[in-house]
Symmetry: C2
DNA sequence: TTGAAAGCGCTAACAT
DNA sequence: ATGTTAGCGCTTTCAA
């Protein structure tokens, strides 16, 4: 509108524009934004006035190039549509935003290969740090990350040898706690319905081992590929029932996800089986809906908000150059005892 | 490792490094990446060899500054943890990725004020386009977007006067279709359980109007604040029942979300009410779980994958400078008839 | 098909 | 407290 000289294209307002209007040099404008304490209040005010006047928005990509600080972070999760990861990453995003960081969110689909490709792509934008899911990455991926020499937070899992920092909980520990809880409830016939992703399988192994240790002989098992859905939960029970049609009584099923547990409860209901009367069900994750099911679902709570917040905190600490950061942050888990198991 | 001269900090490999190794100038390297057809195959090969050797990753922020093309897009959705929006945006992301675009995903929490702040922040990174949710934005927001002079896709809703392009469906139309479906099924006693976000309220209004037109006098109504949860669905039925304890028979409830519908089904079950026998339930969205409920949920399907894909398509068309793009893309909706209503 | 040169919009020593 | 001066790592005319 106010294009002077009627030039073809309205030339964009840059820091130089602001400097001219405020009667200072660009460096002063830059300082007014980044280190206002170095500039006299009056000058800052004049500059801000010019900013208001023009609607100037500092170009962060230019700034990033000059300062070698992109103020961006890369986050790679297995799935954005899985609320488990969405809630976690959301908390991470909110926490780093407060510090002026923008996150580029990417989805690996549980594939190490994809993860690696995403890391490579992300690297092009020079993020100042990476948030990864899990601790199992391809060698190429680790190599690239190491070469980039930026903080790397591995979330959702714990390892003795993180790339940089890991924040999560012991999947084996959680699964063992589940097994003990079931055994403690008096269940001697136990089954497991599990997704086939790495962490779920790790839980399965620990769960089975703990059962064996408790003298429970032949736990039934059904593995479900891909992401958890109600439909897969229903199938899981259907399959389990097909295998041992006669006696489900006194059986409890541990699921790798609350969603699967929920599906099992629906299938049970549709077959006239009562939970927990005819069948005990235990979930994993303590999603929002777990307490609202009927019966309310016994499950294992993972504090996803804390996970995101701690990851953000660790990331910021590293970016600030602090070396005193814990390299292995355990957020723990908690067995949440509700009504979907028999109390004996 | 191979830091020559034992200098303090291993200086990063840039385009100049590659140029030196390949025996060409930086401009040739740049062309090899962006316009390989202008370069002799042998030269390209030598350059790629140097890239492999060094693990060079082009700096997109420098490139973006030089070319004034950030190859990034901003997307603002009300909530990332609501699967409805997550699925939509996921499809958008996947589709623009294929074209080399990275998206910065932000969450407005259904607040116009927040949305505007996010737009302002995003602008600093000079995205080449914006994906917004809904068609209702603050004036400041519209102004900024207009000033930025980039493509803006407004999704999930349709309007006669989009900022640039809108892709969505008629919420009024969908709600009316729901009302007609219920009336067609013979329901004369109808209730609505709705969230309080803008689009849900728009559906409610249209739903109520259509009922009125059909001569249905006093539909009961319960409004639920915030995001949809199973718990809120349960509460909704509890409240409805508290108001008309005597006769729920022959009543159908239309919900603004499948999740609410699901909660209502759970509450009904816990009270010994049969669906659809004692109570009809209709959802909205056709989420993945809807078909797996017991009874399967009658609902209105919104093709979220198509929504994301069409939005991406429109965005890319605009970025390519095509002017022939439809400004108002209707993806429609579909009544999905399942078992949660009585068939009379 | 390739090179030379001039910037993109900003930041960060180094001066003053 | 502010100005000067070099870049940051790339792209893109314009030449050759």
């Amino acid at each position: 509108m106010t294009a002077k000289q009627g030039k073809k294209k309205a030339q964009p307002v840059t820091m130089a524009t602001i400097a001219r209007i405020a009667g200072v040099t660009p460096s002063t404008v830059s300082r007014a934004f980044n280190h206002p304490e170095l500039i006299s209040p009056e000058t800052v005010e004049r500059i801000m006035e010019a900013v208001r006047l023009t609607g100037y928005v500092p170009n962060l990509v230019a700034g990033g190039l000059a300062s070698n600080r992109s103020r961006s972070l890369a986050a790679i999760v297995p799935s954005i549509t899985n609320i488990i990861y969405a809630a976690f990453v959301q908390n991470f995003v909110v926490n780093v935003r407060e510090r002026g960081y923008q996150v580029m969110l990417m989805e690996s689909g549980f594939s190490r290969q994809t993860e690696q490709e995403l890391v490579a792509t992300a690297l092009g934008r020079r993020p100042e740090g990476f948030l990864l899911t899990g601790v199992n990455h391809s060698n190429a991926c680790r190599r690239q990350l190491l070469a980039a020499d930026v903080p790397v937070i591995e979330a959702w899992d714990l390892t003795e040898s993180p790339i940089d920092i890991c924040v999560g909980f012991s999947h084996a520990g959680a699964a063992k706690a589940a097994a003990r809880h079931l055994v403690g409830r008096g269940y001697r016939s136990v089954a497991i319905a599990t997704m086939d992703d790495e962490r779920a399988l790790r839980r399965r192994d620990a769960f089975l081992a703990e059962l064996r240790a408790a003298g429970i002989a032949h736990p039934r098992e059904v593995t479900l590929p891909g992401g958890p859905t109600l439909g897969k939960g229903r199938q899981a029970l259907a399959r389990l029932l097909a295998e041992q049609a006669d006696d489900t009584a006194d059986t409890a099923i541990f699921c790798s996800s609350d969603v699967i547990a929920h599906g099992i409860m629906i299938e049970a209901q549709s077959r006239g089986l009562s939970v927990p009367g005819d069948l005990g069900v235990m979930g994993f994750g303590d999603q929002e809906f777990a307490a609202d099911l009927n019966p309310a679902l016994t499950t294992i709570r993972i504090d996803r908000a804390a996970l995101g917040a701690r990851a953000a905190e660790a990331m910021m600490a590293r970016i600030d150059g602090r070396e005193d950061v814990e390299r292995r942050i355990d957020i723990g888990f908690e067995v949440i005892d509700r009504a979907s198991l028999l109390a004996r």
